[in-house]
């Protein structure tokens, strides 16, 4: 395997990881948005905040990881994407700022109104950000991002049937993934909510499935070359994604939770790699190949070394974090509630996870 292929794989691994961890994180925020009034939504929101509290920064670091690999390993592709897709990526960045800031401030807000405003911003930006990122992905996949400085159309590149569909699919997938995870969390922390999140997982799965089926038609008409590549090379993975997602849901509904999270994650992984296979060996389909976009060997080698170091240092650290998080939540003290109790006084209602203890 060449350094070029290895770097491309690392890029796609980063993308996959962001789709899974960032996706579940966005999805949890989507369910926060859909949790209804403050009275009714209190318990689901507490569970959600507890689930993502300690890990949300780590989850979104994968996005930076991807941006850095793309700009260092495939600079012309990065320049083309960031300039042509200026509008959706600015909106995605806006969503990330609002979301992160609101989530950080929410447990600190003293008044009810402040906490509610922060919560609303957090939830709404969780909904729109994956849409813009998905739409940008759709623009790339359907060959609408030409090489150069803002050469592509600033609007029709991402406001077209394929991009909008993929954006919507991204939102539905995030929601599905998060709901599956939250069913699992609810089982341990707040069993009453199991059925609640199970209904939502089903709903998200149905929506995602419907969008995927609609996508077969839309892509045929709007992005025939992408549709061709998907049916020629990507189809086993796309099919696997559908099967895994359905299997996870069926198992959950039969109250057999073992392995459901892995199946749901597998569904997301399969669809991301299906996309990658479909457009290989291009980085901008029909416009720019990986080889033509690649930085010199020195850059790729440096990136691969950093990646190995990251794997050696970050993987065990991250494992430690998730392990401590799981262990403490078993004992009734999540990391999320730690942060919250660290900053709220006793007696103040907190959405940060105190309510369950």
């Amino acid at each position: 395997m060449s350094a070029l292929q290895a770097t491309a794989i690392v890029l796609w691994l980063g993308l996959t990881t962001y789709a899974v961890f960032g996706g579940a994180d966005f999805g949890a925020g989507i369910w926060d948005l859909a949790a209804g009034g403050s009275e009714r939504g209190l318990r689901p929101r507490a569970l959600i905040a507890d689930a993502i509290g300690p890990v949300w920064e780590a989850n979104h670091t994968w996005l930076i990881f991807d941006l850095v690999i793309l700009q260092t390993a495939f600079p012309p592709a990065f320049a083309a994407i960031m300039s042509t897709l200026f509008v959706p990526l600015c909106l995605a960045a806006l969503g990330i700022v609002l979301r992160g800031a609101a989530f950080a401030f929410r447990p600190l807000a003293t008044g009810y109104a402040g906490r509610r405003a922060a919560g609303a911003i957090f939830a709404a930006s969780s909904f729109v950000t994956p849409f813009f990122l998905g739409a940008a992905g759709g623009a790339i996949a359907s060959g609408r991002v030409p090489v150069g400085n803002a050469v592509g159309d600033p609007w029709s590149s991402w406001l077209n049937p394929t991009s909008v569909l993929i954006g919507a699919l991204a939102v539905a997938t995030c929601a599905y993934l998060a709901a599956v995870f939250l069913v699992f969390d609810a089982r341990r922390q707040d069993p009453d909510l199991v059925a609640y999140f199970l209904r939502r997982a089903t709903l998200a799965a149905v929506v995602a499935g419907a969008l995927a089926v609609a996508g077969i038609v839309v892509l045929r008409v709007d992005a025939p070359s992408l549709a061709d590549e998907l049916t020629r090379r990507g189809w086993p993975l796309v099919l696997a994604s559908g099967l895994l997602g359905t299997a996870a849901l069926l198992l959950l509904r039969r109250n057999a939770p073992r392995g459901t999270r892995s199946l749901a994650v597998g569904a997301v992984v399969a669809v991301v790699w299906g996309w990658g296979l479909a457009q290989y060996p291009d980085i901008l389909p029909g416009e720019l190949s990986l080889a033509d976009a690649a930085a010199p060997a020195g850059s790729l080698d440096a990136l691969l070394i950093v990646f190995v170091l990251a794997a050696l240092l970050i993987a065990p650290s991250l494992a430690l974090l998730y392990l401590l998080d799981q262990r403490s939540r078993l004992s009734g003290h999540g990391l999320g509630s730690d942060v919250a109790t660290n900053v709220t006084t006793a007696g103040l209602p907190s959405e940060g996870g105190n309510s369950k203890t």
Partner: protein, 465 residues
């Protein structure tokens, strides 16, 4: 003839300067606050001091909040490198991106261990908890190194070869990271981070002392960050002096702008204040020969003037010069503040009752932030019109996408809200803690919701969560 400046260039530069100027304050806190938290934590454990432990715990909450906001504003910068400067990244990403990749590694570690450290207050043994904070402080330093190395590369680009078509054909990663400017920019920024954080935190407790609260908790809260900052301040003078002389050698246009030197030659005066109008220095005080003396230890030292730099390669000298004066002036005052505290100690006077000293200390945080921002303006504006010194002009690097004016306006509004939100949140924390201390009868840390999790009595190492 200076080429016309496109509107999107002005908007893009304004947006980059604004978002970076905002982020850099949070970045300083992210770098230096972990060290201060760990010092307080270690003192608390070693001396069985509940006040120090309570400070460590509360500061770690501030650390977590500012880190979260800094993570967000840092992500924005990652986007902006491409959104605003696609040509810079498209042409030089293969070289310029490498230090950012290293930075990503440190940032990731910092994010993970901050979460573990916050968690550890309740669930880890005191020793394990203290140890879990070490990677936070170390990765903060590593992150500074990487990101400042990237900036240093823009000032002294190295480690790449351009092909005939202008594309980068080979890259030597270590030469990119360890370029000529890295050796002086990195320590300069690192010390600045410790000064900004130390003085900012100390100024909060100086206000507390001025208001008449002088228990051990407030005194420690002042002393720990203050000592760190006043130790960093004189070191910064030495590092800054080396940096300035290196800039004279490496970037003569920047140095000429810093010192408002119009004509090449020896016996250059040091100009304090003043601006450049039509190539002439207007206003300010000129001290004969001092610029030459400082630059080469001799009045005969020849310094390149702006007359030797083509007009279309000159930075806007007045801004650079005034910022330079502001940084050096404020930095000097901060060193004097440190000497004042030594003098008080020598005369065995209690600093906590010396009101003029406390007033000066209460202003030191703002002074350190302004000095740091001014220094950042010197290095960034002083490099103009280049984005990569002598290789790529800023005007050639900017996006051709329309709408940067709109995003600039949006970003100013958004960041204003973010800044206010952060201040309100931190103010709320301070009030809540003050209320807890009052409820505990003025003795912090003995009762209340956030009584120290493990304390002096708990010497066996078990967590008393």
């Amino acid at each position: 003839m200076v080429p016309a400046v496109p509107a999107e260039l002005l908007a893009a530069r304004a947006q980059m300067a604004f978002t970076l100027g905002f982020h850099i304050i949070l970045a300083c806190l992210g770098v230096a606050l972990p060290t201060i938290v760990l010092i307080a934590n270690a003192i608390g454990l070693r001396r069985h001091d509940p006040a120090a432990l309570l400070l460590a715990r509360r500061w770690s909450t501030v650390m977590a909040v500012t880190f979260a906001v800094g993570a967000v504003t840092g992500t924005v910068l990652s986007f902006e490198m491409g959104l605003l400067w696609p040509v810079l990244m498209g042409r030089f990403g293969g070289a310029f991106g490498i230090p950012f990749a290293v930075e990503g590694l440190f940032f990731f570690l910092e994010a993970i261990f901050i979460a573990i450290y916050i968690y550890g207050w309740r669930h880890l043994s005191p020793r394990a908890h203290l140890l879990s904070g070490l990677p936070v402080a170390i990765s903060g330093i590593g992150g500074t190194f990487s990101v400042v190395a990237a900036n240093a590369w823009m000032n002294q680009p190295a480690g790449f070869v351009l092909g005939p078509d202008g594309r980068v054909v080979t890259v030597a990663p270590l030469e990119v990271i360890f370029n000529r400017a890295t050796v002086y920019e990195v320590p300069h920024m690192l010390l600045a981070a410790y000064m900004v954080t130390g003085f900012l935190l100390a100024s909060v407790y100086a206000v507390g002392l001025l208001r008449g609260r002088a228990d051990r908790y407030v005194r420690l809260g002042f002393v720990i960050p203050f000592i760190l900052a006043v130790v960093a301040a004189p070191l910064q003078v030495v590092v800054g002096d080396i940096a300035a002389r290196s800039v004279l050698a490496d970037q003569p246009a920047k140095f000429a702008a810093m010192e408002l030197i119009t004509r090449t030659g020896p016996r250059q005066p040091e100009t304090l204040g003043g601006i450049l109008v039509d190539g002439q220095v207007v206003g300010g005080i000129q001290v004969p020969d001092v610029a030459s003396l400082l630059a080469g230890f001799s009045p005969d030292t020849v310094i390149t003037g702006l007359d030797a730099i083509p007009v279309d390669q000159q930075p806007p000298a007045s801004i650079v010069h005034l910022s330079w004066d502001a940084m050096v002036g404020l930095g000097t005052l901060l060193v004097l503040l440190g000497l004042w505290s030594l003098f008080l100690r020598w005369r065995r006077r209690d600093y906590a009752t010396t009101r003029w000293f406390l007033r000066a200390a209460a202003l030191s945080g703002v002074a350190a932030v302004v000095a740091m921002e001014a220094g950042w303006i010197v290095t960034e504006v002083g490099r103009q019109p280049w984005i990569v010194y002598l290789v790529l002009r800023t005007t050639d690097a900017v996006t051709h996408s329309a709408g940067v004016e709109a995003t600039f306006v949006a970003v100013v509004g958004l960041y204003a809200a973010l800044g206010i939100g952060l201040l309100v949140a931190l103010g709320g924390l301070a009030r809540r803690w003050a209320a807890q201390d009052a409820a505990a009868g003025g003795r912090a840390g003995v009762a209340g919701d956030d009584a120290v999790p493990y304390g002096p009595a708990d010497r066996t190492g078990g967590a008393a969560g």
